[in-house]
């Protein structure tokens, strides 16, 4: 089969000034569970090439999965042809010439990469067993191996690989007319890191506790968000606003805030593409630049933005190794051009345990899950519909509540926070995100909770 280096050579022969090529291959073994039985076993392979060519300093991009010489030649010619209408690359831009990658740990697991259908079925049955008497209407399990090779006309020819195990499940229990659902979304790099016992106990505990859910009341109170809520909330707000595209387009409220205070001193945020077992960790990004650790916010002060190679050239900076492609299941790396996206966003932990934070809260709301935890990168505003939440009264979790929303701006609320010390590594919910977040629980001192039910007194 034609490799990336050969495609680069072909592109030069066909008239490209320069080019870079990614070939990626993702193997998946998966299963579906429906009504507590394994109903489907699937295997899939997604393999293809993405070719960026520069011709007359303009970029064209083509991708495909037909590796025959004639098809690749046609693709290169198309890329050269469409590059005539592409935007000029910024002055100073060159593809990376480095063949070095960062030494990363716990990102490839033979047990996942060599798993067969029996292993997948066995894992699926373990999950069913661990869920006990809860119903599993639908669950999907993926054992995945991703490999990619990047080659370019600056001389780089570098490969990387990783494994992932993904468990997504809807679990529920009925009691009379009541039906309580709890959604599980877990992702790890190593098989042994997927702790089914912990995951299923937690799901069963939430289902049990949520049986007598009441409608929340309208009020302004301290709110604790779980890492499950914070993951996508942080990615869609700070994660997006601190990436070069938002900054260069001036869509980010932080464009001119470097070295200025934008959050509480308790809040530090780092992008760490090198994190051990990180859900977005690779040794090299998807355009051949070594991954690294970039401090974004240090004790509330904005320090850096994240760059891919082209945006870095536009801004007169160096790539931070965040030229990333594809979505969270990494089966389409070759399909898209790289753009600056966070890798593992790491919130520095605080000193208090979550139990202590709850204990210190006289009255508040603990939010474990919302329907879709996204916010606005422009304003930080969010309106999160409660799905699994509990009132906090006199330092204890009490009644389960929902049928309401928590409303606020994370850019404002981040000024007054308490951060837990126990971190969780999580991937966001919908496809389309390649980022992950490592964060503890965070308590926001005052947020609006809005519901149909108003408090009898002190209601806002």
């Amino acid at each position: 089969m034609i490799d990336a280096k050969k495609i680069v050579a072909m592109a030069e022969n066909l008239g490209a000034e320069s080019s870079d090529v990614i070939i990626s291959k993702t193997n998946t073994f998966g299963s579906f569970i429906e009504r507590n039985i394994v109903t489907n076993v699937l295997s899939g392979v997604s393999e293809g090439y993405g070719i960026r060519v520069i011709s007359n300093r303009r970029i064209g991009f083509v991708s495909g999965n037909d590796f025959s010489k004639s098809a690749v030649e046609k693709a290169i010619k198309t890329a050269i042809s469409i590059s005539k209408r592409g935007k000029k690359v910024p002055r100073g831009f060159e593809f990376s010439s480095s063949n070095k990658k960062t030494d990363v740990k716990k990102t490839f697991d033979k047990k996942i990469s060599e798993a067969g259908e029996e292993d997948v079925v066995s894992f699926s049955n373990d999950f069913i067993k661990n869920m006990g008497d809860a119903n599993i209407p639908l669950a999907r399990i993926r054992f995945m191996k991703t490999e990619y090779n990047i080659s370019n006309s600056s001389g780089a020819d570098i490969s990387d690989k990783g494994t992932f195990l993904v468990l997504y499940a809807n679990t529920l229990k009925k009691s009379g007319e009541k039906m309580i659902e709890y959604e599980i979304l877990e992702k790890t790099r190593m098989l042994d890191m997927m702790n089914l016992d912990r995951i299923c106990s937690e799901a069963r505990m939430h289902i049990k506790k949520s049986m007598n859910t009441k409608a929340v009341k309208t009020q302004k109170i301290p709110v604790i968000f779980s890492p499950k809520v914070l993951t996508e909330l942080l990615i869609t707000t700070f994660g997006e606003a601190l990436c070069s595209k938002s900054v260069l387009l001036k869509n980010s409220p932080f464009s001119d805030k470097i070295n200025k205070k934008i959050a509480s001193e308790k809040f530090s945020l780092t992008d760490d593409g090198t994190l051990d077992a990180g859900l977005s960790t690779f040794g090299v990004d998807h355009e051949g630049v070594r991954t690294k650790k970039t401090v974004l916010i240090n004790k509330g002060i904005l320090k850096n933005f994240l760059y891919d190679a082209i945006d870095a050239a536009r801004a007169g900076k160096k790539s931070t190794g965040n030229g990333r492609r594809g979505s969270w299941i990494y089966d389409d790396l070759f399909y898209l051009e790289p753009s600056a996206q966070a890798s593992n966003l790491v919130v520095a932990p605080g000193t208090l345990g979550i139990d202590e934070i709850i204990k210190d809260t006289r009255k508040g709301l603990f939010v474990d899950k919302v329907s879709w935890p996204r916010g606005s990168a422009y304003s930080g505003m969010f309106s999160l519909e409660l799905r699994t939440a509990y009132m906090i009264e006199n330092g204890e979790l009490t009644k389960p509540v929902r049928w309401g929303s928590v409303i606020g701006s994370i850019y404002d609320a981040i000024d007054e926070i308490e951060i837990g010390k126990e971190v969780e590594s999580r991937a966001p919910y919908p496809t389309g995100f390649i980022e992950s977040v490592v964060t503890p629980h965070i308590k926001f001192e005052q947020l609006d909770v809005v519901s149909k039910n108003r408090l009898r007194c002190n209601g806002s």
Binding site: I37, S63, A75, A79, L138, E181, S383, I407
Partner: protein, 457 residues
Amino acid sequence: MEDELSKIIKAGLELGAEFVDARIFMDRNTLVAKNNIEEKVRENCFSGSSIRVLFKGTWGYGTTQSTDMKSLMTATKKAVKFAKANNKNNFGLAPMKPIKDRVENKVKINPHDVSVEEKVSAVEEIFNNAGEDEKIKTISVSYFDSDNKMYFSNSEGSYIEQNIISSRAALSVNARSGNKITESYDASGGAMGFESVKYFDEAAIKKIVDYAKLQLNAAKCPKGNITAVVDGSVAGLLAHESLGHPSEADFVMNGRSFLSGLIGKRLADRSVSIIDDATVNGSGKYFYDDEGVRGQKTFIIKNGILNSYLHSRETSSKFGVESTGNGRTQGIGRKIFVRMSNTYFDKGDYKFDEMFEGIKHGIYVIKNLCGMEDPAGGSFYASCLMGFLIERGEITKPIRGEVVLTGKVLEILKNITAVGDDVVLNPGSCGKGPEDWVSAGTGGPHLRIEKIMVGGK
């Protein structure tokens, strides 16, 4: 392809499968995108095959990115092996007569007949027309077209060739004043050709720009229980998230739908009907679903009464009904689920102005941004671009987005008191859980909903 697929089917049966179906997908698509700092032109070309076998009531899937016989045979063997390795289930398939057909949709301007240069020029023209206002700081325009071919065959004797051309054009803008950044967007598309870009004439662009500018000085969104008039875009999201998902029969079959046991029950006023329709030219258009069943128009709610769930062959077998032609897959290596096509509220009798009559204090909400289903819990979440206050029956001050609508679906349905006569259909896509995306259209007319929960971002 017919010969290749029939050999695969035969091989699957000889390996012990009770039923085999196979599909070869070929997709070619082009994207042209421009914003203030870059212009992209991208072309993708993919093909692959997916073979599904049923063995003792259990499914096995084999996939390959190739279409040659050797790879197809390997994938078929794998599919049978996987089905045999698994538990013994009891899936069946609703009966279906063999179909032989070749179908393609007709479009006004076939994207293949339009050069890349013309596509780039069209995008640049929209970009330039949107960029004339000094308050607009960021403009993003994109145009995408796709030529999707499916070759389908099954062990019951069906062979179908289907070709769907679709396109989508979108414009989004950001206005900025000081630290305040606002957004606005619109999109056009569906089972159509290059003509989707024609939607963005001067008036359409001005409206998008005006919405971004208006929000710069708009009031904060009111919070609480408020009467809302929602436009067709928001109505479409309500149809899709609140009624479409829970009517997917696999959710019902698996005990995860609040609509379970409600067929034949009144859920809304008789003026309310919700339809899933694969035959209209929206994003979810198809002639045949991925199981080779004819796409059709299904009333989920008819005159206020829950009329039908949406079915694949598997769920229709369980329910003892005919498939509604909603067995769909994202593509190669993906499971076939019950999925929506184009889901929308049917039109009613109310003229636009009549929708607002008698509302002393309310909110007019426009343009959906995103939503989330809750088929088990029966709640609804919709995030919308912006709104306007309604005061004494008149649209007055603009309200800053995002406007968020939430509530219990069954309460919201009962609170729909007016259905407009102006149905629109918007392009979109839909996931089943966090993945398995398919293209799906949503739409409807303006709706008036009493006492819906409103929150703002």
